[in-house]
């Protein structure tokens, strides 16, 4: 399995979650972070101006495709970085493919 991690400005949250869902992610985890990057420092004292860090576990294929989607559709619009790591889980079926009900 893979974990896709996204660090982005908090305004991008809804857009990212929508892509997560479309990619078949059945869950995610997120929290507020401070950041430093090409667009300068983001100290995070105002939620609207801060960054969030989101993680979702999903299959490798789905993760790669989701990263590509993020790249195509959101990287230009929002301050954002994303990466994929390979991980091991038990109950892989919990994270596999779109929820069937």
């Amino acid at each position: 399995m893979s974990v896709l991690t996204v660090v982005c400005e908090s305004h991008a949250r809804d857009a990212v979650c929508r892509l997560f869902t479309q990619a078949g992610a059945r869950g995610w985890t997120l929290h507020a972070v401070e950041g430093m990057g090409g667009q300068g420092e983001r100290p995070g004292d105002i939620a609207e101006y801060a960054n969030i860090r989101m993680e979702t576990i999903l299959g490798r294929e789905a993760a790669l495709q989701l990263l590509e989607e993020l790249h195509q559709r959101l990287f230009d619009r929002f301050a954002m970085v994303a990466w994929i790591s390979q991980v091991e889980v038990v109950r892989a079926q919990k994270f596999a493919g779109p929820a069937s009900g």
């Binding site: 400005e9 305004h11 991008a12 004292d45 105002i46 939620a47 609207e48 801060a50």
Partner: protein
């Protein structure tokens, strides 16, 4: 009128909220590590918006709702129109999306500037009817929607959904706390206010002072981008609030507003949004450069209104009513 302006200016610049704002600016300039944690900012915001709404509602329960609708209509209209001329002026130097994005911010309103104005008017002992918090809630959205239309008139630009914008306009946390507080105040009335005055009333000005310390930090972090913004924009960021403040005095007077209400209305017109508008613009006009609109609004217009604008509009309102 000149002495009025000087006295109002002095009164304002030496009031604790403005002094704490200046302290925040100084803290950034000397590169202090002073920082407000996010939950503190969020807590102060929730407190201030709920308090101002509540207070307004209680005032409204005494004044009656009949007098609100005309100023409300005027407020919505002016908030929708400001982006139009702002857009036209800004097009001289800026691309369509950037011009529209900046215009959205100047049509919309800043709750904190309004809070400072309420505080100023109350400290000076000027009577007010208290329903202006309702106008603050109403003036947030129209400008944003209008400016997004202006931007899109030039072709497709990012995501835009009427449904989404309308939902935001009615349920965004700022609007919800304001309108909700107003309704709570209306229903709870004077008895409710007495019960909660020790929290929503007495500490209010001090909380605002502390909050403006944080806003001083936030605004001054943008000073570094002033060069990127350029002279045209900086000039715009000073002249637009001035113009809109003056316009607000005349229009508000024509709509029947008097006393503190007139100052507050002018301040609403002059103020520029830095929470609601950036959020909408980031999502719907992603190509617009935040270095332009955020810098103009946070580094120039917000401090200008807080320090010089406020007493100016107040003095002008007093003079116009006296004339």
């Amino acid at each position: 009128m000149f002495t009025d302006v000087v006295s109002a200016l002095e009164f304002n610049l030496l009031s604790p909220p403005i002094l704490f704002f200046a302290l925040g600016v100084v803290a950034t300039l000397v590169r202090s590590d002073l920082k407000f944690p996010e939950p503190l900012y969020a807590g102060l915001t929730i407190y201030l918006l709920a308090a101002i709404g509540f207070k307004g509602g209680v005032a409204l329960s005494k004044a009656g709702l009949g007098q609100v609708w005309l100023p409300a209509l005027g407020a919505v209209a002016v908030s929708a129109l400001i982006p139009v001329w702002s857009f036209l002026v800004l097009r001289v130097k800026f691309a369509r999306v950037d011009a529209a994005a900046i215009a959205a911010h100047y049509g919309s309103v800043s709750a904190v500037t309004f809070l400072a104005a309420v505080n100023f008017v109350e400290s000076r002992g000027v009577p007010q009817q208290g329903f202006m918090a309702a106008l603050l809630a109403l003036m947030e959205a129209p400008a944003i929607i209008c400016a997004l239309c202006l931007a899109r008139s030039g072709g497709p630009a990012g995501e835009f959904s009427w449904k989404h914008q309308a939902h935001e306009a009615l349920t965004g946390r700022g609007v919800l706390l304001l309108i909700g507080g107003l309704v709570v105040g209306l229903l709870a009335g004077e008895r409710g206010w007495k019960a909660c005055e020790g929290f929503f009333g007495q500490p209010f000005q001090g909380v605002l002072a502390l909050f403006l310390l944080e806003m001083g930090l936030v605004a001054s972090r943008r000073f570094g981008d002033l060069r990127k913004a350029g002279w045209f924009l900086i000039l715009f960021a000073v002249l637009a609030p001035l113009l809109h403040g003056v316009l607000g005095v005349f229009l508000g007077h024509a709509l029947g507003l008097r006393g503190g209400d007139l100052t507050l209305f002018a301040t609403l017109c002059a103020s520029a949004s830095y929470i609601a508008a950036p959020a909408a613009v980031r999502v719907s006009l992603p190509e617009a450069n935040p270095a332009f609109y955020l810098t103009a609004v946070l580094a120039v217009t917000f401090p200008f209104n807080l320090t010089f604008g406020l007493p100016l509009y107040h003095a002008l309102a007093g003079w116009w009513q006296g004339a």
